[in-house]
């Protein structure tokens, strides 16, 4: 299988869809965060593929570097929130987070 732009975009699409399904179906909050990481990785694969195969140039790779850094920052905050939730409720199940339910 030769590496072409279309195949790299399909890899990005598979990673993205797996991340979205993970975010939507997992009941563990850490599982949801893993879905977010998969989504951002799918976007990174797309960016780097466009950087190599189109006129985008080095901009795609710099953009993906910023995506990596911002994903790390967002993962830190989301995990701090998840730890706080766990400390208050002794469970990490997102279905139990219904105190604000009307």
């Amino acid at each position: 299988m030769e590496p072409t732009l279309s195949r790299y975009l399909m890899i990005g699409a598979v990673l993205f869809v797996c991340g979205v399904i993970c975010m939507a179906t997992k009941r563990n909050a850490i599982g949801v965060l893993m879905g977010v990481e998969l989504v951002l990785n799918g976007a990174n694969v797309n960016l780097v593929a466009f950087s190599r195969y189109t006129t985008l140039g080095i901009d795609g790779q710099i953009y993906s570097l910023f995506v990596i850094v911002l994903a790390a920052a967002e993962a830190a905050v989301a995990l701090a929130i998840a730890l706080n939730f766990y400390n208050n409720h002794l469970t990490i199940d997102v279905d139990r987070a219904n105190k604000l339910k009307g």
Binding site: A13, L15, G19, A29, S64, V69, A72, N88, L90
Partner: protein, 200 residues
């Protein structure tokens, strides 16, 4: 089959199967392991596509930092009564169907675009050469100096770095992201500080 297409096939299968295994796994620790496999294979794909610095950054920051942080969080939230957190079978079938539909839609969208024709139109509009060989920056993956200089405000790949021409580089986003990272990490450390645990 050349070495490049062999490695491309191998790492494509590893990345996609790892991502699917993350969705399918029932235990969050196994999900973390498959995510490490998937992200490591993505880094290998970056190396194959001549993006050496991005691949190295992916391995260092994502696999070596963010995933280790996730595993720590899994460890810290696993004590207490461990109930098997499952999704019902009906929801699983519905999720699979929606996922396949979404994947089909995305792939149909990206195969419906004529990428080569778009390349040629953009290159012709900018007065550049449109042959596919030109897109390869010719550095064979040695993008470190170009990326470093772009983050400091110069664009050697667009020419004229020493000729006094101004190009849009990435100094401002670099500084913003530095401050952002500092603020976010201080905030996260404050949020996750050790408090007296309130008995629920």
């Amino acid at each position: 089959m050349s070495g490049e297409s062999l490695f491309f096939t191998l790492f494509t299968i590893a990345a996609c199967m790892g991502a699917i295994a993350v969705v399918v796994s029932q235990s969050v620790v196994r999900m973390a392991f498959w995510l490490i496999i998937s992200l490591g294979s993505t880094a290998a794909l970056f190396f194959l596509i001549d993006a050496d610095f991005v691949g190295a950054a992916q391995l260092l920051i994502y696999v070596g930092g963010t995933l280790v942080l996730l595993v720590f969080a899994v460890m810290l939230t696993s004590s207490g009564p461990y109930l098997k957190i499952d999704t019902s079978p009906g929801e699983t079938v519905l999720a699979a169907m929606v996922g396949l539909l979404f994947l089909f839609m995305v792939i149909a969208a990206q195969t419906g675009v004529d990428w080569d024709g778009t390349n040629e139109r953009i290159a012709a509009a900018n007065g550049q050469d449109a042959s596919a060989a030109v897109f390869d920056s010719g550095s064979g993956g040695n993008t470190l100096r170009t990326i470093g200089m772009s983050l400091l405000g110069l664009r050697p790949d667009l020419g004229g770095a020493s000729a006094g021409e101004l190009h849009t580089a990435y100094l401002l986003p670099f500084e913003i992201v530095s401050i952002h990272l500092l603020v976010v990490l201080v905030g996260a450390a404050y949020l996750a500080r050790a408090k007296r645990r309130r008995d629920a």
